[in-house]
Symmetry: C2
Subunit: 312 residues, 2 copies
């Protein structure tokens, strides 16, 4: 008979295009993982069925392990629409707003709330999932943290809380232009990142003394090629450099960092290196960060939520 | 037997995705037109064959009519790569750089050059085709002219010449985000333009007192929907408003116009109305412009080129 190991938890990273489940112990070590392409948009609403069949082997081995889910699975298009906790907020504030749902086969799934910054212009800004990365990174220093992604987040940690944040649509602008634009029509995507081409794009934006914006700078992808300064193999990384540097330029103009500041770059994919190199090119010092911030943060919020429930 | 009518000319507008030929008289009146989807990218280099079969009826009726071609057909991906004339330039400077190519069946095709602004950062800026619109609009006033498009051009007319210009990649950013982004995933495209939604997007960018840029403003498409301020039916036009207003904001920062200035909007499609309304929202006066500026300009350059050839 399966015996439940009380220190085990399942952390779900269930997004629009993929399903990922991690089996973790209480030190946030990942013991096993399951990844499928059963993203929210492809499963026709069968959340329970997809979840149950994915984690059946773990359930058979360990019994009903508590499940925690942050991110898009708790969005309007997801399983349960979770509220957004307003900033300033810490792990306790997030844990106080979780929603525990019993599962028909026993055990529970607990949805974590998102985070909102209501001071944002023109509408309240929102994040779902990145708040676990911030908690996992740690809220004990006053620092600006950038979380690169489809919709990048710049967050300010202060006084032990997530104090404010702002979204910039960098990854999506780069991705759609790289795949679908005339700008990139002649581009040949290299096997490995061409950092020299990337930094050339970064420098064009960083060094422009004019108050020019992204719409102006983007055309350099084409004029650089036409003038012979850029080869087709360089164009994709050069475009990436222009778009990411535009994010850093906008973030600076909006006060997210000053000249020579220290920032952290938190994430778990190739974008971390892209952003670290951009930060370096902008003269910023990059504070070290753990790679498994999302897992650590989710687990920390889960543990607090369990304590709160135990007390109640 | 077909008799050549010496006052007739064919003007080609042969772009990446479409072929358009206009039969015009010497007053720029369009007597007939042929449109096909034989754009440059779909004809495997058979420029002569596509041209000859398209205009065969006109040739049968009128003999070998002189053909003039501006725009992308004279680009690196086109039939003949034409040079770029540097600014400042007028119609005479453009006419001096045409290239006349005899056709095997008799008659000629004359390619018009493009235009370059070598002062542009970081590489020389370029246009192909829009210079005929500027000539057709008229170079006799000192004025800023915006030519909306996939790659919009802001041009300064001064001293009877095209003095300088700059490209902003507005149409392409809007188009790729409207069609391919997560931002627009829930958008429902309305049948007719929703000008109220468009102007709401314009106002968000125009009225932002912060030095924020496009990457920041774009997320309002999603947060507006999440907060209930925007319906799915409003999102596409709202996105358009944000992107076009960002172009106006960048153009202003770069000195293309000042507070309350007069500008012209020159084009021949729905974007003219979009840009006029944006100019109005930014407090600019819009100078009237003919709709057939490209035809008029191409014809004016053709007539000068013929005089120059006759003299030589």
């Amino acid at each position: 008979m399966a015996v439940q190991a009380p220190s085990l938890r399942i952390i779900l990273d269930w997004g629009t295009t993929s399903f990922r489940a991690l089996l973790v112990d209480e030190s946030a070590a990942v013991l096993d993982r399951i990844e499928t392409e059963n993203g929210i948009q492809s499963i026709a609403g069968d959340f329970l069925g997809v979840l149950q069949s994915a984690i059946a082997p773990w359930r058979a081995a360990h019994g009903p392990i508590p499940i925690y889910a942050a991110g898009m699975i708790g969005s309007r298009n997801g399983w349960v629409e979770m509220p957004y906790v307003p900033v300033p907020a810490d792990a306790e504030a997030l844990a106080a707003q979780v929603k525990v749902m019993p599962l028909p086969e026993g055990g529970t799934i607990t949805f974590l709330p998102g985070l909102t910054d209501r001071s944002n212009y023109p509408y309240p800004d929102v994040m779902r999932g990145e708040e676990t990365q911030l908690v996992g990174f740690g809220l004990d220093r006053d620092l600006t943290v950038v979380l690169p992604g489809t919709h990048s987040k710049w967050a300010r940690i202060a006084g032990g809380q997530i104090a404010s944040f702002q979204t910039l649509v960098t990854g999506e602008v780069f991705g759609t232009l790289a795949r679908h634009s005339f700008l990139s029509k002649v581009a040949k995507k290299p096997e490995a990142p061409d950092w020299a081409a990337f930094l050339k794009g970064v420098a064009v934006v960083r060094d422009d003394q004019r108050p020019a914006g992204l719409l102006t700078h983007l055309f350099a992808v084409r004029t650089g090629w036409l003038s012979g300064a850029l080869s087709p193999a360089e164009m994709t990384d050069y475009l990436s450099g222009i778009v990411v540097a535009s994010e850093f330029r906008e973030a600076k103009a909006l006060g997210w960092y000053g000249e020579g500041a220290s920032i952290a770059v938190v994430g778990d994919d190739d974008l971390v290196e892209v952003y670290k190199r951009t930060a370096d090119a902008f003269g910023l010092a990059v504070v070290p960060a753990v790679e498994d911030a999302a897992v650590r943060g989710c687990l920390a919020i889960a543990q607090i939520a369990e304590r709160l429930r135990h007390k109640a």
